[in-house]
Symmetry: C2
Subunit: 514 residues, 2 copies
């Protein structure tokens, strides 16, 4: 069995001692090992600070953008090989694998273009303003890269995109990266990294990969470092609470749990309703529901709930669970045995909280072309809670798999309050065609979300589904979702930069800051 | 003796049980008591959420700005009375009292004008952009006020400005405030609040004041609340590490310790050098050195250090310590007995770390018109450390009083590294006239600071000193300084708002978001 290597200090290195095992979720067979025993991760941090940082800071945004372009191209060119790694270690269908891999190359390409637009500069300067009565004394807010390292701790569900979306932003900002994928699905990340390293385009020390435990790497972070984490709320809380992080004001960005809601407005046009059904069923089952942006709660007008239930059940009945390598299969297994067990326990928790299963079964899916007992297969499940106000777990417990709970509401203010019970989310989607009503929903949901997708007749044929994270829009959410913000074009760079108000002679500042 | 009242739920209420005592720092005599025993602070939080928030959110930015204008006017009109309260409880000279009080009314007036400029809107919308190939599907990032409460925990040194600068920003953003001044100097804050309440301009529940302990108020904060703290790094770390704050992603902004540096460049013109001397001596002694932006470290070229030492000593010799109510006195006592003791211990700590006192005495100042044993008097002290690289405490321990340490440096890169030893600061100042050299200093210092003031010949007659916080520039700093950012005009509002990417039909978004 292969042992995955970490890429540190310009070399591929293998961990010693006890290693973690990676499995094929379709068969339950072990496929690789990974670990960081015996590896000096402090030296990796030092390498990033001593070589990666200075190299990146010496480059202009356009030059950094060119590095991202090369990374994007390398991933795109290796697409077929990477899809295979995704199917093997992630249990994804081809389509789900592409969602991750094309998302990676697409986000890198997008940030390459942001770099090109920012051009031959190394800092970003906001409009200067006169500060006093004298005409010469001015203030200019300038953004400069942090002098430390960006450590990225990613989730198991996007082994390619997770690496790429975070690295793209940090590298463009001028900050070297140490990226740590979830070990369980790190095979694809390591393959992606191999392609990136092979380009020779990335400056020495600018991008390193840890395949396995971070040991005490995070405890070394200081005031000029940044930690970006995607994963469970519990882990996010723990990382944010590290003694050194608290005491030294290390920047932390967390993307965590999210009980994303879809809201159908009472007036929805037929095309809008079709879009709603299409989006909800896709968001429930794409990547077997293992997306932080997947829809978990579905709110519909009380008098429409039976129709929606039957229409969604009809769509879910088309889902074919099984070996994701087969063309006829539309949904693969969950990524790990633990995820499968958590999913089953999660559905039971929702049931105990007042939801009932109205379609599917968490425990006994029909499986095509694989052994249902050996692979980590689950079926899509639609639940329904007729008294949403008291179904606490439905609003608080994220079940990370292909299930969602359908709930009725009476009016716009009530549904805003019900959605807000999620305690802060990544994305909400609303579907309707009455402007007044949509206004109440959008402005009511916005404080609780990083993103709101509005489905309406006019965009039914061109809108993206809510689960798709575009690099041009911010990704993150308040409260339970972690309180973080990533991407959003140039906005995302700010997390890796310090804004400094420079005050002085206008002519001098113009010359120095450009 | 009077007991200070808190202003909560539209009423002035007095605490019961054990109360803290406030003193006159000039005489050591007790002047007031304060406490929150028996007061239901959770009800205050509820009041802010139920009444203050909705009232503010119903107003436009211009309307909120008008509230700030009324607050500013009320403070300005009561200026003389407030100066007396400042002298009595803060031990400030008239000039130092005005710095705080005029800073309060000025910052409120500034944000009133920001509100006026933002006009008849309730949200801030960033430039929308096309998201897909279809011409209709757009994304707009909209800023909306958080639905919770802003709790402000302020430091003892700015009882008026602290309340005003934080409240101005939160209220303009549309978020109700509960403000908690440091109890030791809360007399002035309560007097300011009385003037504000008397205007009748502030909506019910929008602004409350806690005179005394916050009890377990901070433990109640959730995902839509924001906590802004100014004070010691240790307390900042504790607040940021509260279980609920970590788990619920409550926003926290910290302004903490800062070893602010002033750097004299070798080439400085005579006018620039005079500005440097003027700024440094002012920043050492204004408000008896009790400013988070005061200069603590002074770096000068090695061959200039003797001259600088003698010129600074000459200026410090003019400082008259004593009863701040007397016209001839230029520096009052420290605010509390604890601060005095900490100052003396702090100077000793710097001495133990390799600095030596070259002017003044921390323990035995000449005192005019007051009893040196009863009041909390200390003298201005200039220290000098000839081996700055090894004088650790000088870079790490903030002595919160009228002292600073003079140090030599060899070249620009060395001094950038020495300044960075502070681990992140609020403001650095550099004085010089060589553009190349200034460029190295500014871009080198920027990542470690929220602000850099550049003194040069051309602005020597119109620049502000580095310790003055202008509301149009950001205030805060990375690392040891807390990693926070306040003020900065419209920038400051963001901390109290959620940015949400709204995606949908362009025409629809235009109509709903404006």
């Amino acid at each position: 069995m292969i042992t995955l290597k970490s890429y540190l200090r310009g070399e591929w290195v293998e961990g010693r001692g006890e290693l973690a095992t990676l499995f094929n979720p379709t068969t339950g067979e072990p496929i690789a090992k990974a670990g960081t025993g015996g590896i000096d991760l402090k030296a990796a941090l030092e390498h990033a600070r001593a070589e990666g940082g200075p190299a990146l800071r010496a480059m202009t945004f356009a030059e950094r953008g060119a590095v991202l372009k090369a990374m994007s191209k390398a991933i795109h060119e290796a697409r077929e090989e990477l899809i295979e790694a995704s199917i093997l270690n992630g249990g994804t269908t081809r389509s789900d694998a592409k969602f991750d891999i094309d998302g990676a190359s697409g986000t890198l390409a997008y940030y390459a273009s942001v770099g090109k637009q920012l051009g031959d500069k190394k800092t970003i300067v906001e409009e200067p303003e006169q500060l006093g009565r004298g005409a010469r004394f001015f203030g200019a807010h300038v953004w400069v890269p942090l002098r430390g390292v960006a450590v990225h701790v990613n989730a198991f569900n996007f082994p390619a995109w997770g690496l790429a979306e975070k690295a793209a932003v940090a590298l463009l900002a001028g900050v070297p990266v140490i990226s740590k994928p979830a070990t369980a699905t790190a095979l694809l990340t390591v393959r992606v990294m191999e392609k990136i390293v092979a380009t020779g385009a990335v400056p020495r020390g600018a991008l390193q990969l840890v395949a396995g435990s971070t040991q005490d790497l995070l405890e070394q972070l200081g005031p000029q470092d940044a930690l970006a984490f995607t994963g469970s709320g519990d882990t996010g809380t723990k990382l944010r609470g590290l003694g050194n992080v608290l005491a030294r004001s290390t920047r932390v960005n967390v993307e965590a749990d999210s009980l994303n809601a879809a809201v159908l407005a009472p007036d929805a046009d037929d095309e809008t309703y079709a879009m709603f059904l299409r989006d909800v069923s896709k968001e429930m089952t794409q990547k077997s529901g293992q997306k932080c942006t997947a829809t978990r709660r579905i709110f519909v007008p009380r008098d429409a709930i039976d129709r929606v239930q039957s229409d969604l059940a009809e769509r879910l009945a088309d889902v074919k669970v099984g070996d994701p390598a087969l063309a006829e299969v539309t949904m693969g297994p969950l990524a790990t045995a633990q995820q499968r067990d958590d999913y089953r326990a999660g559905v039971a928790k929702l049931e105990a909280s007042g939801a009932r299963v109205v379609f599917g079964s968490a425990t006994e899916p029909d499986v095509i072309g694989a052994d249902a007992q050996k692979g980590y297969f689950v079926g899509p499940v639609l639940l329904r809670a007729d008294a949403p106000a008291t179904a606490n777990a439905v609003h608080e417990h994220e079940v990370f798999g292909p299930c969602a709970t359908l709930m009725p509401y009476e009016d716009a203010n009530e549904v805003v309050e019900l959605v807000a019970r999620g305690g802060g989310g990544l994305v909400a989607s609303v579907y309707g065609d009455d402007r007044e009503l949509l206004s109440t929903l959008i402005l009511g949901l916005a404080p609780h979300h990083g993103r709101v997708l509005v489905g309406s007749k006019k965009v039914a044929d061109q809108a993206i589904p809510p689960g798709l994270v575009l690099p041009s829009c911010v990704h993150g959410g308040p409260g339970r979702a972690g309180g973080g913000e990533e991407l959003g074009g140039e906005r995302g760079l700010r997390f890796y930069m310090q804004r400094c108000a420079v005050q002085g002679d206008r002519a001098l500042l113009d010359k120095i800051l450009g």
